[in-house]
């Protein structure tokens, strides 16, 4: 099976989020970057398991500058066979999806996988856009997936429950919690990753449909109002009369 996994870079969960240039761009100073957890723990690891069981090749693709190569090497260390970096600054989901769809168009991938969203922009857009641009079926928020021949069986969350879907390959799948367990790369994987191919290709210069004008941090919380554990009625009173939520 020939699988493409889309990999995005994201700030580590514990990062302090600040902005620079008059709040127009994210301040990367001192921020530790990781592979976006939905791309890594769920999409990449499930793709690896399928490849290990059924044979084939696993390619990862990122749209980003040279600074992306650290996290791409990590994905190779976990077990991807080769990597492709589209040399462009990712600024808009449609732009990223267009780059990936353009690369994947003639490569004959059976599966294109991505995390359900990134933990920085939380857009949940790229997977569905790739499917639309490549005219492929799309299943989002997959929590389980198996492949038999040219048919995938995918379980996904829906409002108030889950749904088991059948989909013919090739298809685009976005991955959520449940697909696989996180894998920590071992020393052999890390060594091997250094010599695995990482191809840099030029951007196809797609259109951008949106632009971020500026960022804003939420107002500081006013501080917690502590209530005596022997006076729980006071909490209910505050929730009813002050916060007006019950």
């Amino acid at each position: 099976m020939n699988i493409l996994v889309c990999i995005s870079k994201a700030p580590d969960t514990t990062s302090k989020i600040t902005f620079k240039d008059n709040n127009t761009s994210f301040n990367e100073d001192g921020v530790q970057f990781i592979v976006n957890p939905y791309d890594e723990w769920y999409a990449l690891v499930r793709a690896l398991e399928l490849k290990e069981a059924q044979g084939g090749k696993l390619t990862i693709i990122s749209v980003g500058g040279a600074d992306y190569e650290t996290i791409m090497r990590k994905a190779l260390a976990i077990g991807a066979d080769e990597a492709v970096r589209v040399d462009a600054q990712p600024l808009d989901a449609f732009q990223v999806a267009s780059e990936i769809a353009a690369y994947a168009a003639d490569k004959g991938f059976d599966l294109v996988m991505a995390g359900k969203e990134t933990i920085d922009y939380n857009g949940a857009q790229v997977g569905g856009m790739i499917a639309a641009l490549m005219h492929l079926p799309y299943v989002s928020n997959a929590t389980k997936m198996d492949v038999a021949g040219s048919e995938a069986t995918v379980e996904r969350d829906k409002q108030g429950g889950t749904e088991v879907l059948g989909v013919s390959l090739p298809a685009v799948i976005s991955a959520a919690k449940g697909m696989a367990e996180q894998r920590i790369p071992n020393m052999r994987g890390i060594m091997a990753a250094r010599s695995k191919p990482l191809q840099v290709i030029a951007s196809c210069a797609p259109q951008r449909l949106t632009e971020t004008v500026h960022y804003e941090l939420p107002p500081e919380k006013g501080g917690v109002k502590l209530i005596d554990p022997d006076n729980v009625n006071e909490l209910v009173n505050l929730l009813h009369n002050e916060a007006k939520v019950i």
Binding site: F94, Q125, G128, E163, V167, T210, N233
Partner: protein, 320 residues
Amino acid sequence: MNVLVFADSDNGKVAKAAYEAASYGATIASRSGGKATLVTYGRVDNLNELAQYGISDILHAESVDHVDPMQLAALTEAAVQSSGADLVIFSHDYTGKTIAPIVSARMKAGMVTGAIDYPSLEGDFIVKTNVFSGKAFAHVKINTAKKIITLLPNSVSKEKIEASANVTAFAPDLGNASVSIKETKIKGGDGIILTEAELVVSAGRGLKAPENWGMIEELAHELGAATACSRPVADVGWRPHHEHVGQTGIAIRPNLYIAVGISGAIQHLAGVNGSKVIVVINTDPEAPFFKAADYGIVGDAFEVVPKLIAAVKELKASQS
């Protein structure tokens, strides 16, 4: 501008989040001198209620009875054509998150997902959205003539008016289905869906054992709340995975989030920091969750929660 609202339907009803999307879309249409149309599908028994949120026209594709994303995207596109919409509104729920990107790419319509406020209608079209898992907001400008917004539930207040809508049967050609449904599992419980719930009671490791959840469920029942949990208790199987809120679980933004015996690790906060009011009950006064809370009780959950249940019952009795 003319606005089209996509309303998901399930089991003969339009989803609750669709009312908020309908009100949001209708408000934008009326502020900009346009008309608000809504498209939905399948058997829907509560169509007329949608009119009360300002929708003047409803396109009802009754024969569409399943949720193939490509077909629902095609349905939305056909409705854009038919209604002359410049802006399409989806709710930022499972269905909306799935279809909106497909429609965006097909129509080359710029999209902002997870909007939390009305767009600016004077000058540039700019939408405020949640980013960095709720730790910041971005103001995003849409550059295309056709535009798409997915609205994060519980973001705007619903405006109800006296009105009725014209319902038109709608049966555009949607092409072939790209996926088949093999099985649907609906979760049990009180029937309050966590992602739609206005009130949520959540508990974590501080409860010590799965059999201690009875009081959490009772409190949720008394409040009319959904139940949730932290990651560690879902991972050890004390609670089902679909209750896990946080960075890797689901993100919710209810009006009230009560956290019992949850320390408030940053990964957990990422899933709940959009909640309007947070109550934390924990024995440890140093628990980081207190910093993110509006109200807190430093105390033993096994003493505090039963008292809280009694106090809620008392409030309800005084109101009836």
